[in-house]
C-alpha cells in the first residue's frame, strides 16, 4: 500500500476533483482501493473512498470545527492500494493541487461564503 502524509496540506477543490477522477480512472496506475482524508480551502475536512470492485467513489464531510485561520491540525492522508502506481506523478499532482500560504491567506481573509 502506498501512503502519502498530507498533514497541514490544504487542497483546491477543483484540482482535487480532477486528481481524484484521474486517480480512480487509472491515470497513475491500476487502483484497487483509495482512501483520502483531505483538507479543503473552506476549512472543512472530507473523507474520500474509492473501491474498484464497486466502481464508485463515496465522499463524507468530517464533522469537525472548520479551520478558518492558518493550516488545520487534523490528520490528513492518502492511502492507495493497487498495481504499477506512479508515486512520483501522484505526489507531484498533489503538490500542484495544494494551496500555497499566500492563496490560503487570501481565501481566509474573505467574508464567509465568498471564498
Amino acid at each position: 500500500m502506498l501512503q502519502i502524509d498530507l498533514f497541514q496540506t490544504v487542497l483546491d477543490p477543483a484540482s482535487l476533483d480532477i486528481f481524484w477522477m484521474e486517480l480512480t480512472s487509472g491515470a497513475y496506475g491500476e487502483v484497487d482501493r483509495a482512501e483520502g482524508l483531505f483538507n479543503l480551502v473552506n476549512g472543512q475536512g472530507y473523507g474520500f473512498q474509492f473501491i474498484a470492485a464497486e466502481q464508485k467513489s463515496e465522499y463524507i464531510e468530517i464533522e469537525d470545527e472548520p479551520c478558518l485561520v492558518g493550516r488545520p491540525d487534523r490528520p490528513s492522508v492518502l492511502q492507495i492500494s493497487g498495481q504499477d502506481l506512479d508515486l512520483d506523478s501522484i505526489e507531484a499532482t498533489i503538490v500542484a493541487c495544494s494551496l500555497p500560504d499566500n492563496i490560503l491567506e487570501y481565501h481566509q481573509s474573505q467574508p464567509l461564503g465568498n471564498s
Partner: protein, 271 residues
Amino acid sequence: MKLAVLSCIHGNYEALNAVLSDIDQQNADRIFCLGDLVGYGPHPNAVVEMIRSLDIPTVQGCWDEDIVEGLNACECSYPSLLGEVRGKLAHEWTDKEIYPETREFLANLPITMRHDNLCFVHGSPYNQHEYLMPEVAAFTALERVISTGADVLFCGHTHIPYVRTLDSGSLNISLKSSDNKTQPLKEFRSPLKQIINAGSVGEPRHGRPNATYVIYDTDTQLTMLREVEYDYKKTCAAIVEKGLPKIFAWRLGQGLEYAERAEDPSHICER
C-alpha cells in the same frame, strides 16, 4: 462550395494528418483553420509548417497568442490550481521548443477572417480566450454573430463541436426622451444566424481520442460534424518521449483534453 473548418490542433501532428486525409476524401474545396496550432502537444513546429505549406487561411488562437505575447489571460484559462500548473508547464515547454519562424508565423495571424457571409474566429469575435459555449445566453450568442456582420460565425476553443441556430432573434427597444415622453416600443428582428463550433483536431474533449472538424456546404448551408480516428498512441508516445507530463498522454487517450477548461458558460473573458 464545400468548406472544411478545423480548430485547436495543439501540436498534434498525427491528428492533423488524419484530418487532412479525411478532408481530401470529403472533396472539400477550401480549408479554414481557427487557430491554437500549438500548446500541450509534442509537434508544434511540424503543425505550423504543415498549415503554412498548405497555405491554409488561419486565425490566431489563444495559445498562439500566448506564445507570442506571454501568459496574461484572466482566470478563465485556469479554473483550477492544477490546470494552471499544467498549462504553464505546457506553455514553457512550447515556448522553448518552437523555432523563431514558427513564432513569427503565429504573431502574424489575424484575429478574425471573413469569407462572404461567413466569419472565422478562435474563441469569439472579441477575444481568442472567450468561450462561446453552446449554453451561452441567446442574447450574447446573437450579439457575437451580429457584431461580425456575418450570418455564420465559425469558432473553436471549447473543443466540443456544435451547431447553434439563432432563428428568432428579436430586440425590443423603448426610448424615453428628456421631456419624459416614452417613444413607442420598437422591435428589431435579426435574420437567421448560426454559430458553428469546429471542435478540436488535436485535443478532443468529447470522451474519445478522435479528432473532430466540420464540413460546411455554402450552397445548402448544411454542416457535417466529422469525427476522425487516428493513431493517437503515436502522439501519446511522443508526449512522453519529448518530456511533456505523462498525464497529457493519458488524458489525450481518454478524450479528456490535456487540461480542463472553465465550465461557466456565462463567463466573459476579462483579458
